[in-house]
Amino acid sequence: MAGVPIDLQLLNLCAALLLLLSFAMLTQRRIVNLVNLLAVQGTVLFVATLLIAGRTRQPHLYLSAALTLGLKVVLLPYLLHRLIRRLAVYWDAEPLLNISGTMLVGVLIVVFAFGLAQPISALASTATRNAIGIAIAVVLLSFLTMITRRKAMSQVVGFLSMENGLFFGAMSATYGMPMVVEFGVALDVLVAVLVLGIFFFQIREQFDSLDLHHLESLREDATSGRGE
């Protein structure tokens, strides 16, 4: 690694940490810890954005770093923590696959993502193009987190972490999206969390639990009972 400037080394470290955090989220059973991990992921993303901003000297990247800090490190985790307290959900049930199995599938996904990213990295001209594979892996691992969980809460955390992955991917492929798009996405995520929060209360009221497999089947009696 001779001659690689220190900020690129730090960026690589950030990318590696993001990958690690995705795996930590994949195997975490406690929802409170899951939200904390999301906040840590946001912090790493913030540092990575700052580093890229310092490297490319594009002023709008500082703005999006500030947005990351405010939204993903402070506001969203705060909202989620409040939701957890109000709904009193602290544990997810055993995930669909056991932990070791999930990890192995996760490793396969990372290999797949790296293979997928190879042609994209070859076309990209940024200094951070190596990290595109990691961004794709983070997105797919968040998908896996959503697939293997039952509780609505952890699915939302998986969704947010997927957004983080996409953000990092855009950052490393093209030094960030246009500001308008970024603002739009940030607003979308915020609204999504607020709406989903209301949703959770509705789900719990209906089924007395946040387990999403209740939503998988159509139940005639539940609706007909209401219709009468």
Partner: protein
Amino acid sequence: MRPIEILTQLLELIVALVAAPLFVGWVNQCRAWLQNRSAPSLWLPYRGIRKLFHKDAVIAAGASRLFRLAPYIVFGAMVVAAGIIPSMGTRLPLTRVADAIALVGLLAMARVFMSLAAMDIGTAFGTLGARREMMVGFLAEPALLMVIFVASLISATTALPAITEHLATQTLGLYPSLAFTAVAFLMVLLAENARIPVDNPATHLELTMIHEALLLEYSARHLALMEWAAALKLFNYACIGFALFIPWGVSTRGSAPAALLASIPLLAVKLAAAGTFLALIETVSAKLRVFRAPEFLATAFLFAVLGLLVHLLLGA
């Protein structure tokens, strides 16, 4: 074979044999301090081994020759392993015939013979311990191999001295891949040496013990060799860790013979720090249930694989 090579080899073997029980004593002492107990003497492991060598051996009635041979094989494997690991110098003649993968094989051989000997007697505890040991072993070994593969990939060789030289001379920088593999290696070390998250070395509680259950039927000189071998194993693992992750200060190919002498105090410092760290980990963590051990080792494997992938993708 030049005299400096033979000298390095002999020095490594002697230091390993002498320092291994001392290292165990140091870890025990640190742990006692951290837990507010009065610490046992540093020399206690030596006294234990000497006492055991002076006793008459009692061997169970149904024991076969395997049971009697196993301590010598296990001890021998550990001594040879100590000769391969470049803990002080990289000019080791033995490493021309045995690389890092052979080292993993040596450790595996010791484990297999230990488990076979424990099953040979046919007591319930021995069998139970042997099965658990094999379970931990078969999960820890791929993780250890992965760790070694990452270091091999970085330095493009599987010979341990060459790996150490390459890692010691490369430019300083942030290597996420090495950081991940270091964590993986630490977890493997804890599992393989029957340390706290997986096994408790200080207990003979029947239901939880792994390592001690294997040695229950041994006495006198056989037990002494087994305990010495366990100490050597811990020492070897620590030295593998130094060779891969803190390789500085080892006397390399071009250096003067005096560098070999200078590497002895440096190794002592590294061992002292590692012993304190190990005791700290053991004090702050709780023992896992046996059925959680696979998860612990799967995490170690994951860390090592992530290190490999990160190295391949980021080149770091």
